[in-house]
């Protein structure tokens, strides 16, 4: 077990760029098959061939997730409350 003075390599600041590089390398690897695997369209009858286009699953996964994170952020502005919100009037029972 590492002592608190010598943080695990995951937590060392100098390794951060390497971690990003590894992640980008994995993403590039995941995109390589696009050059030889053919995605068939799921809805040819409806004239939708978007899902057979180059890199569809990659950009769709990224943008929808980015969108969901952004939407959650906006919802948070309206919906977030301190986590003792419901306890305030609870006759002093609970929590520290």
């Amino acid at each position: 077990m590492p002592s608190p003075r010598a943080p695990h390599w995951l937590y060392r600041r100098e390794n951060l760029p390497n971690l990003w590089l590894i992640q980008i390398a994995i993403l590039v690897l995941a995109l390589l098959p696009e050059f030889f695997v053919h995605h068939h369209a799921h809805f040819p009858g409806q004239g939708m061939t978007l899902d057979a286009s180059w890199g569809f699953y990659a950009w769709y996964g990224f943008t929808t997730c980015a969108g969901m994170v952004a939407l959650a952020k906006v919802m948070g502005i309206f919906l977030k409350r301190p986590d003792h919100y419901y306890d305030d009037r609870d006759d002093g029972v609970r929590d520290d």
Binding site: M1, C65, A72, K80
Partner: protein, 565 residues
């Protein structure tokens, strides 16, 4: 009754339900044997009776079908029994006997539902589940759990009332109590559907899941995550296949679960929101209603019970060892809890439907069904939601609990029985992913689907890896805060409470004014009386003897004058 063998048949759910009653009386070794043996015995009983077996008993004017073995029911009962076994193993040395008794009765009732051939039997087991699960919550023994259990019970009693009213109306309408496929076209069937949907965590009452489940003990939450919502999936699967209304309801649940989980800070509440998300997939598939879609819903429910329990076991181990539940307090635990971390990650990969895990081979049945029916929008939304599952459960949970910044906590892995339960479910998550034909073989409809095509594996990996990229790219936006998020439960936890206290403030003011006015009147009356009749009152004054004599003389004089004339 059909054939002689059925005289011996015994509803498999009763083995757990009645066996649970023996737990409080069993000593140490027998107790362990019962906890591990009862689910195994139940599993054997589930598979002992061939499809089509029927056990019925007369009740009033009806024949109750306590057991009707169908392929759907057997599938759900199987995973419920496996779940009870692993949950029992996980809870073996940590949970109270009270919790285990309640949990086994709860599991037995859930299995009872899956074998119920008629609506009355279904309803009885349905309500036993509500009681059992409430007791599991109580067993946590905290003030928060007690309060949450009352809110939980309230919602489930409401669901039970809707279901009972629906069943009564349905019997009045059709004269039959058989539990078969219905269409939501009359008041009766709408009420039954509403009763089922409340237990599934459908809008607007989805909040009960994230409100109640995370208040239970570490093992209690594992049990709770499995039975109620999946029994509702079973009931919808048998009762309302192809009901179109389920598609939008399910899509709402899918995104509700993702967005609320993204906002959440409590690790087990993240996973509770994720239950709504996953059940949403199944509800959509049931709404699509083709054999492939129904197979997908059933298979996904089977796989989901295993990986969600695994995730909650992992979270429960962290809670057990650290007594902390908020992401803001956790992080860096992978250094001292490697077993919990690995198993948590297997569960996270399985829920995200990574290739070679159980999620991949089951959820893809559902998305494929949407594609086959030409539902392009539904398919695109499910695809986005699949990416979102990785975002909110697949990465968020392990990242914030086991990695992120180092919290400095160095707890060891949990005790052996908790580790074994996690390994068992990790094994099953991977085994189903690697050998899907075994699960496909027991699905309700014949399966003609091959999940492992190069194209499918590649597209799924791309979708998930880029979803993960979005997570890390937007990590600053997801800084954990000490917050909860408002939901529909605000109405019954805050709005009506405030309304009530406002009402009592106003009524007490009114009451005060009213009593004040009457008190004034009475005081005035008393004052007047005492002024006239009191010690100093005009009418009660004591007069001197001299004036008495004078008055007597006057009276005598007057009588002389009056009578002697």
């Amino acid at each position: 009754m059909g054939f002689a063998m059925t005289d011996l048949a015994w509803p498999p759910g009763l083995i757990l339900l009645l066996g649970a009653a023996a737990l409080p009386f069993a000593r140490e070794r027998l107790r362990s044997a019962l906890i591990l043996g009862l689910p195994a015995l139940t599993l054997a009983a589930i598979w002992w009776w061939p499809l089509g077996t029927l056990v019925s008993v007369p009740f009033l004017d009806y024949q109750l079908e306590l057991v009707r073995v169908t392929s759907e029911g057997r599938l759900f009962a199987t995973v419920f029994a496996i779940m009870a076994f692993a949950g029992g193993l996980y809870a073996l040395r940590q949970a109270t006997t009270f919790e285990l008794t309640a949990a086994y009765a709860y599991a037995g009732a859930a299995i009872g539902v899956t074998f119920a051939g008629d609506l009355i039997t279904l309803f009885i087991f349905w309500e036993l589940m509500a009681i059992g699960s409430t007791l599991v919550l109580w067993a946590a023994g905290t003030e928060g759990a007690y309060r949450a259990s009352l809110r939980y019970l309230l919602i489930h009693l409401l669901g039970g009332v809707l279901l009972m009213a629906g069943i009564a109306a349905w019997v009045a309408e059709t004269g039959s109590i058989a539990f078969t496929a219905m269409r939501p076209e009359s008041l009766a069937t709408w009420l039954i559907l509403a009763g089922f949907l409340i237990n599934a965590g459908a809008p607007p009452l989805s909040a009960w899941i994230a409100d109640a489940y995370p208040e239970a003990s570490p093992s209690g939450t594992v049990f709770l995550s499995a039975f109620t919502t999946k029994t509702a999936v079973y009931a919808l699967l048998v009762g309302f296949p192809g009901a179109e209304i389920l598609v939008p309801i399910g899509l709402y649940m899918v995104f509700y679960g993702i967005l609320y989980a993204l906002l959440e800070n409590d690790m087990r509440r993240i996973l509770a929101y994720s239950i709504v998300n996953q059940v949403g997939f199944m509800v959509v598939a049931i709404g699509i209603g083709t054999p492939l879609a129904l197979n997908g819903a059933a298979a996904h429910a089977f796989a989901h019970i295993l990986y969600k329990a695994l995730l909650l076991m992992s979270a429960g181990s962290v809670l057990w060892m650290t007594q902390r539940r908020k992401c803001t307090d956790l992080g860096g635990l992978f250094q001292s809890m490697p077993v919990t971390t690995i198993n948590g990650i297997v569960g996270a990969l399985a829920i995200s439907a990574f290739p070679f895990t159980s999620g991949f081979v089951t959820k893809s049945l559902e998305t494929q069904a949407a594609a086959n029916e030409g539902l392009a929008l539904v398919w695109l939304l499910l695809l986005a939601a699949s990416a979102g599952v990785f975002l909110h459960a697949g990465i968020k949970f392990p990242w914030f609990v086991f990695f992120q910044r180092d919290s400095g906590l160095r707890p060891p892995d949990p005790p052996a029985n908790m580790r074994q339960a996690m390994w068992l479910f990790s094994f099953l998550c991977l085994a189903i992913g690697l050998f899907p034909q075994v699960l496909y073989g027991i699905l309700p409809h014949p399966v003609d689907y091959q999940p492992y095509t190069l194209e499918h594996v590649v597209s799924q990996l791309q979708l998930l890896l880029f979803a993960g990229f979005a997570f890390f790219a937007m990590l600053p936006l997801m800084r954990r805060t000490l917050t909860i998020s408002l939901d529909f439960d605000w109405f019954y936890r805050k709005f009506f409470k405030e309304l009530l206290s406002e009402f009592s403030v106003r009524t007490s003011a009114f009451h005060g004014a009213l009593t004040g006015r009457w008190r004034g009147r009475i005081e005035r009356l008393v004052g007047n009386l005492s002024r006239h009749h009191g010690p100093q009152g005009t009418l009660a004054r004591t007069w001197p003897t001299g004036s008495m004599v004078l008055w007597v003389a006057i009276l005598l004089g007057a009588s002389l004058l009056l009578y002697n004339r």
